[in-house]
């Protein structure tokens, strides 16, 4: 284990970056997922098409390619934009943190659209009617009836999306983000011990996944107390 000496720091900060990417991409993923679901559920044909195309494109391309294309594509676009105002500029760097975060949020968000859409449609229409018949407004019905019923339906698949997200953070090393995978590659060039270095990465991810799984299980248990709760 001596080979790891001197690398713990880098792994720690790599793990911090993983956590940051996870939190940022989780927030974005929820927004993309909800927007996509809203588009698919809307009466507007164009919105439906855009929602559908979003899913098809991001589900149908390798994740690593999405990250690369988004990183280099946004760099090119941004450079062109900046050059409009200042032709002296040769190249604008896009921060890999944000390019990677947005890329994996878009990828996993495309799956989340279906989860959110299904949860929306899964709410018992009878509950909605009962609320309306009791005189509750559409907005009250949405917040007090639809949302609480929806998240209980969405939670189990949503937990899987969170696991996908955390695992996808490992891909962002390819565009130079110094997360744990990146640290491992550096450590390997110095020490020549790939197995050891990668196993550390594996354990870190297993730690993150365990936390996520336990959290989701806890929330599920809270949500299910109404359906299978104490008799």
């Amino acid at each position: 284990m001596d080979v790891l000496n001197g690398w713990w720091d880098d792994y720690f900060w790599g793990a911090v970056i993983v956590a940051k990417v996870f939190i940022a991409s989780l927030s974005l993923m929820i927004i993309f997922g909800l927007l996509g679901a809203a588009a698919k559920l809307s009466d507007n044909r164009l919105a439906q098409k855009i929602g559908g195309a979003y899913t098809v494109i991001f589900r149908g391309t390798p994740e690593i390619l999405v990250i690369l294309l988004l990183y280099f594509g946004s760099a090119i676009a941004l450079t062109a934009l900046v050059q409009l105002f200042n032709p002296e500029v040769r190249f604008v760097d896009v921060p890999p943190f944000w390019a990677g975060t947005i890329a994996i949020a878009l990828i996993v968000g495309s799956y989340a659209t279906e989860t959110f859409r299904g949860a929306f449609l899964g709410v018992n229409p009878g509950s909605i009617e009962a609320a309306r018949a009791l005189g509750m407004s559409p907005l009250q019905t949405f917040f007090y009836i639809r949302i609480p019923e929806m998240w209980r339906i969405a939670l189990p698949p949503f937990g899987n999306h969170m696991l996908s997200l955390i695992k996808d953070t490992a891909l962002i090393s390819i565009i130079g983000l110094n997360e744990t995978m990146f640290v491992a590659k550096q450590a390997i060039t110095v020490t020549g011990k790939p197995f050891t270095m990668y196993i550390v990465v594996g354990l870190i991810y297993l730690g993150f996944s365990t936390i996520i799984t336990l959290t989701v299980m806890g929330i599920e248990k809270y949500g299910n107390r109404t359906t299978v709760g104490a008799q």
Partner: protein
């Protein structure tokens, strides 16, 4: 809304309802006065649910005029809200809110719609839970109750809003036979207290003993309206007799 004793609570004049090209209600004329107990029956698809769902605007009628306690139902949201505050509804499939405890099911609309303070809403809720004889279930969740208990909660939930009219859409047809009577008993109590009710049901014993008037529908039309005695013993229309033969056979 001044209380005018002679004004009908429900007035439907030449009401028609279409689903696309399909006409679900044809020229419905119906007047219901305060305290009247109406039973609606008829074959499946005859428009019974559609009729009562137009009364609280869960369905929007296309032609004719519906006036509830002096308020005409139009697209005006304030009027629809006002009508829904006066009209309670009980569904075949109970439709309790699954994520709320029984007591919350009874409090939520009081708090949000009537703006009743929480404490008072809880008291009202407990009062009506007692009336339907299940106060001990207050903290449970709907799934933990039997069908008959859930339907009694649904009735209590409607009563908490102090409606002037209650609509029942086949309230016992999703229940196991042994639970039908506990729900019918609650409905009989309500009738005895003078609640105005319109009840879609095929419980002919209930209809005979409780109804002031029975309405028979077929193909979106009201075919016959009569007192229970006339309805069961001298139906005027052939379709009514055929229907009665059908359901009284069992």
């Amino acid at each position: 809304m001044s209380d005018n004793p002679t004004r009908p609570l429900i007035e439907m004049a030449a009401v028609s309802k279409f689903f696309g090209d399909f006409q679900a209600l044809r020229n419905i004329d119906l007047v219901v006065h305060k305290g009247e107990r109406i039973v609606v029956c008829g074959p499946s698809g005859s428009g019974k649910s559609t009729l009562i769902r137009c009364i609280n605007r869960l369905e929007k009628h296309n032609e004719g005029i519906i006036t509830i306690d002096g308020i005409e139902l139009t697209d005006k949201v304030a009027d629809i809200d006002a009508v829904r505050r006066e009209v309670g509804m009980v569904f075949q499939s109970f439709n309790l809110f699954p994520h709320m405890s029984i007591i919350k099911n009874l409090m939520i609309a009081q708090q949000l719609v009537r703006k009743t303070p929480k404490k008072e809403a809880r008291e009202i809720a407990m009062h009506y839970l007692q009336r339907v004889k299940i106060p001990e279930q207050a903290e449970k969740y709907p799934i933990q109750l039997s069908g008959g208990q859930q339907q009694r909660v649904a009735i209590a939930r409607a009563l908490c809003m102090k409606p002037k009219i209650i609509l029942f859409d086949e309230p016992t047809s999703a229940l196991d036979p042994e639970m039908i009577n506990e729900v019918l008993d609650v409905m009989v109590d309500l009738a005895d207290e003078g609640m105005t009710m319109i009840c879609v049901t095929h419980e002919m014993g209930f209809a005979r003993s409780v109804a002031d008037r029975i309405i028979f529908m077929d193909e979106g039309e009201i075919i016959e309206q009569a007192s229970p005695a006339d309805f069961f013993d001298n139906p005027e229309n052939e379709r009514t007799s055929a229907f009665l033969d059908q359901i009284l056979k069992h």
